[in-house]
């Protein structure tokens, strides 16, 4: 193992050792951990137990990794239905952290961590960052939101675990972000790719040439992004841009990350077991096929996720990466199999917009969500058709309606979006059905 570490000394850390586990050893470890986590969930989580019972299964039926396909799926709706703590497998006294992300209705999705889970989370991020060529001595600015969102604190502990100097700016205030990048000599940035695009543009307006700054790497995630965005970022800022993947339900950022080969994202397989299924039938697909990514947490204590349906569409790349890691890789995520939108890193469902509109008027007006990108930042506007019930002949009453809609949307979505009142029957419909989402971000 030492020889491997020495030969690739620029892209690993002491914590990276499991990245190079021989494949048969890795599979044996995965099976052992799978059996352990299934047993734990079966003992502690009522919903999982009852689903296993329905199928006549017990943890003893998991005799090989292939047997995972017999296990029931977990879906986002399960987290909602058991809100807030129904899927916990640890008593609250062992839970040291709660995070939450937006669900499909007003209630968030809650996730829990024991100290051991937090330590695993930190270690997987250390391995991700090390794979990006980051190490002690790097100055890492974390511009993901800190708080209930897993992005900020997750990346923070990972960067500290790596031994880097952490600048925890959280999101927002672009001018200050740029000032600190410059004054502190920041060498790496963690944020959403769209936010970094915004920083590039803002820096130019402020007369700061990002190409002249010490920053040399960016680890970007929390939303899908494309090769053309990567090329744009790298051209404008002369950094190396890495794609990092994760979701709160599994652990947060750090489920997978690109290495310096930039040929897919290595899944941290000793903790997160990947499968690719047909999103329609739920059947596993042959290796290399594109389908929905399903993840099982192999070591999670507080909240094990067995066969969690991510809704992200990708494939497992064939062959071994030239970097030497034995961890399998997935393609970059380009799209999802449900209607979830990702706006500035925040998950938004059209159904959330509906619940906010319903809350205000009691009936659902026709509406449309329009997504655009201004200066690299995602913008969301909700167009609401004014119905006779909503309409009032006084401007003040219409403005009041406008403010109430704005308030309800801000509250439910957790991000600021635009609201416009538009004339009845003015929104585009296709085949009689309203087109709910118009995405103009790509153009």
């Amino acid at each position: 193992m030492n020889s491997v570490l020495e030969s690739t000394a620029t892209d690993c850390h002491a914590a990276s050792v499991p990245d190079y586990t021989p494949v048969d050893e890795l599979r044996a470890l995965q099976l052992h951990r799978l059996q352990t986590v299934v047993t734990r969930a079966w003992r502690q989580v009522k919903l999982f137990r009852s689903r296993m019972d329905e199928r006549g299964l017990t943890p003893d039926d998991v005799r090989s990794l292939d047997d995972i396909r017999r296990l029931p799926f977990t879906k986002k709706i399960d987290l909602r239905d058991t809100y807030p703590f129904g899927l916990f497998a640890s008593p609250m006294k062992d839970v040291v952290r709660l995070h939450a992300s937006s669900g499909t209705t007003g209630k968030p999705i809650v996730v829990a961590y024991t100290q051991e889970d937090i330590d695993v989370w930190t270690s997987v991020l250390v391995r991700c960052f090390a794979g990006c060529g980051l190490h002690r001595g790097d100055i890492m600015q974390i511009a993901y939101g800190y708080g209930l969102f897993t992005g900020g604190l997750g990346a923070h502990y990972g960067a500290e675990g790596l031994g880097a100097t952490v600048v925890p700016t959280s999101g927002g205030n672009a001018d200050r972000q740029i000032m600190l990048m410059k004054d502190f000599g920041v060498t790496a940035m963690c944020c959403t790719p769209t936010y970094f695009l915004h920083l590039i543009d803002r820096a130019a307006e402020l007369g700061v040439d990002m190409k002249e700054l010490p920053i040399r790497a960016g680890v970007f995630g929390a939303e899908p992004w494309t090769e053309s965005i990567r090329r744009h970022i790298e051209l404008k800022s002369h950094i190396e841009a890495f794609d990092i993947y994760g979701l709160s339900e599994i652990i947060g950022p750090g489920v997978g990350c690109e290495c310096r080969r930039h040929d897919g994202l290595h899944i941290i397989e000793d903790h997160f077991y990947p499968e690719i299924i047909d999103p329609e039938t739920g059947e596993p697909l042959p290796e290399g096929s594109e389908g929905e990514l399903v993840l099982t947490t192999l070591s999670k204590q507080a909240m094990p996720m067995i066969r969690y349906r991510t809704r992200d569409i990708t494939r497992i790349l064939p062959g071994r990466c030239e970097c030497g890691r034995t961890l399998r890789r997935i393609d970059r995520i380009g799209r999802r199999s449900d209607d979830m939108l990702i706006i500035r890193g925040v998950n938004v469902f059209p159904s959330q917009v509906e619940s906010a509109l319903l809350e205000i008027e009691g009936t659902l007006p026709n509406y449309q969500i329009v997504l655009t990108r201004t200066q690299g930042l995602d913008q969301m506007e909700v167009l609401v058709e004014v119905t006779p019930q909503m309409f009032n002949d006084k401007i003040g009453a219409l403005q009041d309606l406008h403010h109430r809609l704005q308030g309800a949307l801000d509250h439910v979505l957790g991000i600021r979006v635009g609201v416009s009142l538009v004339e009845a029957n003015s929104l585009e419909r296709s085949e009689g059905k309203a087109k709910r989402v118009i995405d103009r971000r790509a153009s």
């Binding site: 119905t387 006779p388 309409f391 002949d393 006084k394 538009v422 004339e423 029957n425 003015s426």
Partner: protein, 143 residues
């Protein structure tokens, strides 16, 4: 005494006033007064027309959101202090004016103001008691 005014919701973009105007023209309905209250994003078109029931049905049939509101047409002497006298009659009564605007035609020497009150019946009683002339619909629409 009450006048039926039609209010139409309109987005603040080119052509949005022309649509209702064209519809009414095609049906031979005369627009006697038009007042636009607007914000940066949208506006309310307030119309007094020759046949309000037909106009409202027509606009609605064409998918426009229209609302009929009761307003008062108040005759205001065309001299300094004319308006102040009318407003003075409301002082201390707690009768609230939601909005007001001028009707574009004079009636003899008098100007006509259109008022929308929060409590239209209370306003009628008060104004008539103060000797202020309120025009009925046929008087207002007479050419």
């Amino acid at each position: 005494m009450k006048i039926q005014q039609i209010s139409v919701f309109a987005e603040n973009r080119p052509g949005r006033i022309a649509a209702p105007a064209r519809l009414l023209a095609q049906e031979g309905i005369d627009i006697r007064s038009l007042y636009l209250a607007d914000t940066a994003q949208y506006g309310i078109l307030r119309l007094i027309v020759s046949e309000w029931e037909r106009a409202a049905a027509l606009l609605e049939a064409h998918g426009l959101v229209a609302k009929v509101t009761e307003v008062l047409a108040v005759e205001v002497p065309n001299r300094p202090g004319g308006l102040a006298d009318v407003l003075g009659a409301l002082d201390g009564t707690g009768i609230n004016i939601e909005y007001m605007y001028a009707f574009p035609c004079l009636r003899g020497e008098a100007a006509i103001l259109i008022f929308r009150f929060a409590d239209v019946d209370a306003a009628i009683t008060r104004l008539q008691t103060a000797g202020i002339n309120l025009l009925a619909s046929d008087e207002l629409l007479k050419k």
